[in-house]
Structure formats: C-alpha cells, structure tokens
C-alpha cells in the first residue's frame, strides 16, 4: 500500500519540459513569498501597510475571496450528484480538489495575518481556549476545517477506489457529498457573518451581506474552474465536455444577475437614506474628502462584472470559447476586487472615530500574497499530477499487475456520453 502510494507520488516528478518550467516558475514565487514572510516574522506586521485604523488588509481580502472559491465547488456538486448530470459529474473531483486547495490557502492567509502564528493552538477546542459559540472566528475555524475534512475525504476515497481499479461506491460517500452542500453554503455564510456581526462597522453590518457573499462566490469560483478545466483537458487525457462548460457558464450568469441586483439594493439603501453611515460606501464608490484610492478599482470591477453578465446571458457569446474565457477572466478579476479590498477596506474607512487612513499594500504584503497563490497553483498542479493518471486509469495500484502504460485501464471509466 505504502509502496503503491510512493509509486503514485513518483508521478509528480515525471513531466515534460513545460511542466518543469511551470513548477520552477511557481516555486520561484513561493520561495520569494517565504523570504518576505521571514522578514515579516522578524520585524512584525509593521512591514505591512496595515495600521490601527485599517487593521485588516490584503491578506484578509484574499482569505475572503478564497472562501468563496472553496464554497463554489458546491455549484458543481449539486447538479452532478443530486440530478445525476453526467457531463458535470466527470469533473466534480477536480472541483473538489480545487475546494481543498482553496481552503488550505484560506488558512495560510489567516496564518500570515496573525501577530503570533505560533500561538495558533490557543484557538483550538479542548487544548486551547476556543471562544465558542461566542466568536464568529471560532465558528469559521470549525466550518473551514470541517469543509477541508469533508472534501479531502471524498477526494481520497474516490482516488483510492479508482486506484485499485474499482468503481467507487456512491452510496458510501453520498452522505458526505450531501453534507458538503449546506456546509459549503455554511463556510461562506459564516465568513460573511464574521463581518456582518460587527455593529461598529456599518458598511458590513448589512443583512444583505451573506446573500451577496454567496452570489458572488457562485460567480467567481466556477469562473476559475472553467479556465482550469480547459487547461486540464488540454494537457491531460481528462475529457471535459463543452456541454458541461456551457452549463456551468449558464449557472454563472444566474449568480451574476443576483449579485448585481443585491449590489444595486445595497447602493440604494445607503445612498437614498443618506445617514452618516453612507461614508464608507461613498469612500468606495465616489471617494471621501478627496480620498479616492478604491474608486477606480470598484468601478472597473463593476464594469467587468456587467460585461461578463452580458457575455454569459447571450448563448452565442456563452458558447464561443473566446468570449467565454474573456467573461471568466472578467469575473475572476471583478469579484476579486469586489469581495477582496472592496469589501474589507471600506469597512475600516472612515474608522470608528472618523479617521480616514489610505491603505495600500506594501511590497512585502504583495510578495507574500503572490507566494501563497503560487503555492496554491503548485499544490493544485501536483494534486492533479497525482490524481489524473489514477482517474483516467493510467495508474493502477495492483499487487499482481505492474503499474504502467495505458493498456491497464480496464476499468469502465470512459466519459459517459449524453
């Protein structure tokens, strides 16, 4: 068993020149990020641009965005397993591995944001002094680790079964899959509540926040997946049907409609009532007393989201790979800005005592952020490298047969045609 595992692990070392270049490229940024993090550990968080008035910045922005990516895996899981939509079922595993990667990145972004990462154990139940159920951050720890566990279990089980040349038993993992659906909604809801539950920050203290989080997650996560699927089917033997891609794009269009509608609802409420609490959203969309660092960003994000919506609503542009991919990229960027800095920073500006602090990340923050993203890409690549041969049947653990060559794939794994 262990020998088989190492045999499979060897897969991640085998690849063509492009593969090695890609790995080297990512490793470079991971190492640069680690060097920057060493500096941050040494000097403290003063190397970032965060200060008392704006006490969360780029790291927590990325965390918020990535929770959405992780949660969005459910978009694929629901049609695949519940309605048995075969064209999507084939790629569910890829989505679940992406969710695992995204949760790990979330944890890393929280880690690098902590003043004392070595005290992380204080946060754990039983060994530490977790403030449960009072603190929403404690809830977030529980739901995120639970989500990681659920998805990792499904992925490992399916891969294990397939690696033995057997079809996996859907009944066995079905409870986990069904649980993962509300759980995915849960991780993003809890993360929204983390902000939502702070009456001191009126920008976040809006009941529309959690629905907005979900709507935007169901745009950005699948958009990222569509791009990844196209790359994966190009470089591996995994087949991803166009039909599945178009179906997901359609789902994205619905989610984007809701997202933009909720955004309009929020804008109306704030600007029409025009209380002193309008200051934060004014800072975001129009600038406050000449401070308008975020203004071009949020308008670009909104424009990109609207363009993407138009592209995805129209079947002609939705089913054209060029416009489809453009739409995906627009959504990834648009939601990244909206759910990241566009959500976190205005919560702090103006501060609770009216201070306006213009936050703009330092090069250390940017290096660490890029490093973590590169680590995520590396992790996902290696996971694919490990999983794809098993999935396509090129790699089999077997006590009698040696694992090599495509000939051994006797298992019925051919993509099921509709």
């Amino acid at each position: 068993m262990i020998r088989n595992f190492f045999k499979a692990m060897k897969q991640i070392l085998i690849g063509d020149r492009n593969y090695y270049l890609w790995i080297a490229f990512l490793s470079f940024f991971v190492i640069a990020g680690m060097a920057a993090y060493a500096e941050q550990i040494h000097d403290g968080l003063i190397v970032t641009a965060m200060r008392d008035p704006v006490s969360w910045g780029l790291y927590i922005s990325n965390f918020t965005y990535l929770v959405g990516v992780a949660a969005a895996a459910v978009v694929l899981v629901v049609p695949a397993y519940i309605y048995n939509f075969k064209a999507i079922k084939e790629i569910t595993l890829l989505g679940e591995m992406l969710a695992v990667t995204a949760v790990i990145l979330c944890i890393l972004f929280v880690m690098v944001d902590m003043g004392h990462p070595e005290r992380l154990w204080h946060l754990l139940p039983f060994v530490g002094a977790m403030n449960f159920p009072s603190s929403l951050l404690a809830w977030d720890v529980i739901v995120l680790s639970g989500y990681l566990f659920i998805n990792a279990t499904i992925v490992l089980y399916v891969l294990y079964k397939l690696s033995l040349g057997k079809e996996y038993n859907l009944q066995f993992i079905k409870p986990l899959i069904i649980l993962s659906i509300p759980w995915a909604v849960g991780i993003h809801t809890v993360t929204a509540f983390l902000y939502n539950g702070l009456p001191s920050r009126p920008f976040w203290n809006a009941s529309i926040l959690a629905p907005r989080f979900l709507a935007s997650a169901f745009c950005s996560g699948p958009a990222l997946m569509l791009i990844l699927f196209q790359i994966i089917r190009k470089v591996s033997r995994i087949e991803v049907k166009d039909k599945a891609i178009f179906k997901i794009a359609e789902l994205i269009a619905y989610a984007m409609c809701i997202n933009l509608f909720l955004e309009i609802a929020e804008l109306f409420k704030e600007f029409y009532s025009g209380t002193v609490d309008v200051a934060s959203i004014q800072y975001l969309y129009f600038g406050l007393k000449g401070n308008n660092g975020l203004v071009p960003w949020i308008w670009w994000a909104t424009i990109l989201n609207v363009i993407a919506l138009i592209l995805f609503l129209n079947p002609k542009t939705r089913e054209n790979m060029l416009t489809l991919n453009a739409g995906c990229v627009f959504i990834i960027i648009g939601i990244y800005i909206e759910k990241g800095m566009g959500l976190v920073i205005p919560g702090f500006v103006p501060g609770t005592l009216g201070e306006i602090y213009n936050y703009s990340p330092t090069h250390i923050e940017i290096l660490i952020t890029v490093g973590i993203w590169a680590f995520g890409a590396l992790l996902y690549t290696l996971m694919l490298k490990f999983a794809i041969p098993i999935y396509t049947g090129q790699l089999r653990f077997s006590s009698t047969k040696k694992t090599d060559g495509e000939k051994t794939s006797s298992v019925d794994l051919e993509p099921i045609a509709e």
Partner: protein, 307 residues
C-alpha cells in the same frame, strides 16, 4: 486532578496535556526564526490561559516575567496579579465642558502604562471638534491637531479611550478568550494568550484597542517598574493592548494616571456601586451621555457637561 510532572534536561515542567499540545505544534514553532529560543520561550509557549492557572502556576509565571523584564530593562521590575476588590464596579466620568485638549492625560498614560515610544501607541485619543459643526459626525473630528496653545478658539475636545463596556464587542469577538471582562468591570488582555488576529479591533466601536505592529520600545530609564500582569507590563510585538483604567493603581485604591494628571479636573473616577462616590454624584446630578448608545455596548465611561 493529579498531574504527572517530570523533569527534563531543559527543566521544563510538562504535564501530559501540555506535552500533547507541544508535540502537535512544536514542529510549527521550530520552523519560526526565534531569536530568544531559550527555556523561557518554551515556558511562555506552553503557558496556560491565565484564568485556567491556579495560584501556584500564576506565581511561577509572574516570577518568570519579573526576571525577564528586570534583565531586559536593567532594573527591578515587579509584576503583580492583584485581583478585583469585591463590591467594586469602576466607572469613569469626563467633563466635556472642562477639557481643554492639552493631552497631558495621553502622556501620563504612556508613561504609567509603559506604552511603546517608538512606534507610539497611545491608549487615549483626543478628538478636536470645531464648534458649530454637526458634532455627532466623528468624521468631522481631528485627531492630529497641533496648535501652539490650547484650547484653540472655537474648538472643543473629546478624549476617547476604552469605554469598559458592560456588553463589550471585543471580548465577544476574540476567538481565544484572550480578552475578557474582570469582576470589577475592567476589560483586560492576556498578552501571552493573544494570537494577534485583530478581530477585536474590527469589533470595537471606539477605536480603543491597539496592536503592536512592531517591537515596542521603551527606554530603560522611562520604564515604570510597578506593573500588573493584565495591565501595564511591557508588551510583545504582535499582540493587542488597551486602556485598563490603570488596573495596577485602581485595584489598590488609587486614581488612574489620567485622572491624577488632568490640570482642569475634567476627569472623574470611582466605584459605581458606592452611592457616595464622586462618579455616582456626577451621573446623578449632571447632564450625562455615553458614546454610541445605539450599539448597546453600554459603556461605563460617562461623558457629561458640568456647566
């Protein structure tokens, strides 16, 4: 509860629970670049939550800290853990009609409470408002005013510090219970338990919580050597700190440093449960309000107009 204690070469005391904690996270810790990776670091790493420690364990921690601080600042530093007096709820009053915005309170606080001089982390922030502006809008306030003399004409001042809420948003937010409300109503932080996530800072409506973004610096000769574990002992980088109503003074019957220094007597302090206290007199006889009542944090910090 019988705990198996055993000695090891580093002379750390490990019980099984701590050992398990350590095995799980020792690897992570060893990956961090540690400058003072000595036995006391490891002891600090394994330190229990303050409220879970018994008397003996607290004393051991206090001794260790006294030794560390005394060595670091080259003078005898004491660290107490004086408990709350029974029948006491501290309350604070601030007379807005008297405050002249001189900020002597800010500097008295920095000296008394061993706040970092570089970078500066003042616990009291004095807001300056122009008369006639819509005053409830804190956006109109200026925190960084710098005139030749105070008070400036046409201005009034509002010092803000920790409001010691009855329903604190910060303690509710903290994921590790590193901050809590003491029986005498003072909200405190265990600087050895805080993980530096800064969720409490996002939660606090009064900007009263401050983070050590860098290593705090206090000149040796300026260090106040009389300290309290939950109050003015020197802090570490990467932890949150805040006003504690000078816990090291008030639990021994003294006034907070800011009350003592105020040249115009704008600051009042006392026991809310004592009907004859100064603070009770102010609440009962002056026009009193509290900041951001709509948030229902119920501060024990009362602003009033004496005239």
């Amino acid at each position: 509860m019988s705990k198996k204690q055993r000695k090891n070469p580093l002379s750390l005391k490990l019980d099984r629970r701590n050992f398990l904690k350590g095995s799980a996270l020792g690897l992570a810790a060893s990956a961090l670049p540690l400058e003072n990776a000595d036995a006391s670091f490891i002891e600090a790493f394994f330190q229990k939550h303050f409220r879970e420690m018994n008397k003996k364990e607290i004393q051991e921690v206090l001794n260790r800290l006294e030794k560390e601080y005394s060595e670091q600042y080259k003078k005898h530093v004491t660290v107490k853990a004086t408990k709350a007096m029974p029948g006491v709820q501290f309350g604070y009053g601030l007379d807005l009609s008297r405050c002249i915005g001189c900020r002597r309170c800010v500097y008295a606080c920095i000296g008394e409470n061993n706040q970092s001089r570089d970078p500066q982390i003042p616990w009291i922030q004095v807001l300056s408002f122009r008369k006639g502006d819509k005053w409830t809008d804190l956006e109109e306030a200026d925190k960084y005013y710098n005139p030749a003399t105070v008070p400036e004409p046409e201005h009034w001042y509002m010092p803000v510090q920790c409001q010691q809420c009855r329903h604190p948003a910060c303690t509710r937010a903290c994921p590790t219970q590193a901050t809590w409300k003491e029986p005498d109503g003072i909200v405190v932080v265990d600087y050895n338990w805080c993980i530096g996530c800064r969720y409490c800072m996002a939660a606090c409506p009064y900007g009263a919580r401050h983070f050590n973004w860098g290593e705090p610096h206090i000149p040796d000769d300026e260090l106040n050597p009389v300290t309290h574990y939950l109050g003015n002992r020197p802090r570490y980088k990467g932890v949150v700190e805040k006003c504690t109503f000078c816990i090291q003074r008030t639990r021994e019957g003294r006034y907070p440093a800011c009350v003592e220094i105020c040249p115009v007597g704008a600051r009042k302090f006392g026991n809310l449960l004592d009907p004859s206290s100064e603070i009770r007199y102010c609440i009962e006889n002056k026009r009193v309000f509290r900041l951001k009542e709509e948030l229902n944090t119920q501060p024990k910090f009362y602003y009033f107009y004496a005239t």
